[in-house]
């Protein structure tokens, strides 16, 4: 029962997204690449909106990107995040052309700006769940 003290929202992986979540466990950010036309898409989903293929390969992202926008959260909407306040949620343009969202750790709020270079890192949230985080590129 001790593990069930985790009081944050848990993802419920689907057949479409299971490789993404499994990749995070191995500290890899995996993106879907359409096997039909080669387009990279995110978040994981069944179909390519360009060619309608459902065949994908998974490619490992370089893990580098630039801040597109952000918010600094001061209010915990569920109790599990109370101890982390305030935290920065950054939306990031990855080199692969898609965006990701994650907590940006260790950045001075006044340093935040569009285009700030960041890199992807990983953090074990609980047994069986690793989440992506971001760190300002040094």
């Amino acid at each position: 029962m001790t593990n069930d003290s985790y009081d944050k929202p848990m993802p419920e992986p689907t057949p479409d997204s299971a490789p993404y979540w499994a990749g995070l466990q191995q500290h890899k950010l995996l993106l879907q690449k359409c096997a039909g036309c080669g387009r990279i898409r995110h978040y994981p989903r069944p179909m390519c909106d360009a060619c309608y293929s459902t065949d994908v390969t998974w490619v490992e992202a370089a893990g580098r990107g630039k801040v597109h926008s952000w918010t600094i959260t001061h209010h915990a909407f569920v109790p599990g995040f109370r101890d982390e306040l305030p935290y920065v949620l950054a939306t990031v343009d990855l080199e692969e052309g898609v965006r990701m969202n994650a907590q940006l750790r260790g950045a001075d709020p006044v340093s935040l700006r569009i285009g700030l270079p960041v890199r992807v890192d990983y953090e074990r949230a609980r047994e069986g769940l690793t989440l992506p985080i971001l760190r300002a590129e040094g």
């Binding site: 929202p9 993802p11 997204s17 926008s69 959260t73 001061h74 209010h75 569920v78 949620l89 969202n101």
Partner: protein, 382 residues
Amino acid sequence: MSLREVGAVTGVGETAYSRDSGRSVLALQLEASLNAIRDAGLDPKDIDGIIPYAGAVVAEDFVTNFGIPDLRFSATTPLGGASCVAGIQAALAAIKAGICRHVLLPIGRNGSSGGRIGMRVQQMPQFRVVGEFEMPLGAIAPAQLYAPMARRHMELYGTTSRQLGEIAVSTRGNAILHGNAMMTRPMTIDDHQASRMISDPLRLLDCSLESDGGAAIVVSGAEYARDLRKRPVYVTGIAEGHPDSPSAITQRPDMTRLGLAKAAPKAFAMAGVTPADIDVAEIYDCFTYIVLCQLEDIGFCKKGEGGPFVESGAIRLGGELPINTHGGLLSQAHVVGMNHVVELVRQLRGEAGPVQVTDAEIGLVTGYGDMGDGSVAIMRRG
């Protein structure tokens, strides 16, 4: 083929707005509906179409409680806060097709005493993608999901928190004048600036209320609207619009543009008017920034100029475009924007009392929902 003048809003109704209604959601919706139906001079058994807000209450509940003998049309338009105005489009389409004459659009909820927003949205299918990929990271509530849109607007265009504050302050002023509003204490820009940060740049006073209450309207075919109790308010232009990347704001090509930007030109073309013709507008205001962005997406000002536009006093009563004359979701109550439709109809009937916009003939109402869905209706007094 167009929905222009196909129908009119013939009845509007509300319940009292409170923090704890002590009543069931269905009871709230029935009271608001009965008020709207009687406002139109109709009997509940005249209703032959129902578009409930997607949720706990279904069309069958109204058939059961009103004894409706021949319901011919029911549907839902699950666009979150854009549902109510999108529902008017669905009602008009059904009327135009000859399926029904008088469509009831009810909404009501115990948004304060019941489930709070952070937990509530997790149940909505429109939040499924965000639920899997963003909520586990700590991006849970709409304030957190929407704040990056506001932040990017600020970074690109120099929009300020004080400018967002002007929206909260002017809306509060309207609520106080209006009389039927939850928030009755005057607010200044300094009050707004002193309110605690929720998810930067959105402060507490940038956020809408959580309310218990209900509101409803009746939309009738134009040929039936003429002979009813109140002056009809005709719908001259209407559209819904879905943004690119409608499941996650994170992936949106242009984060400062909403689905409304696609819908508004269609609605204006249908109505044959321009933004300059609008006398009064009720703009969906779940957050102050969402108002500012919609003002731009509609074309009341250019993209990026929403801050100076609101700061000029344009949106105040007596300004060039009074908005949210009832106090909106920010200060009247959060009933998912049906109160915006109710208020616009009252404005165009000349029934708006202390917040009446002088000679209001043409008005506009919007909805905004989920990850940026938009809806807009342009109406004229009959």
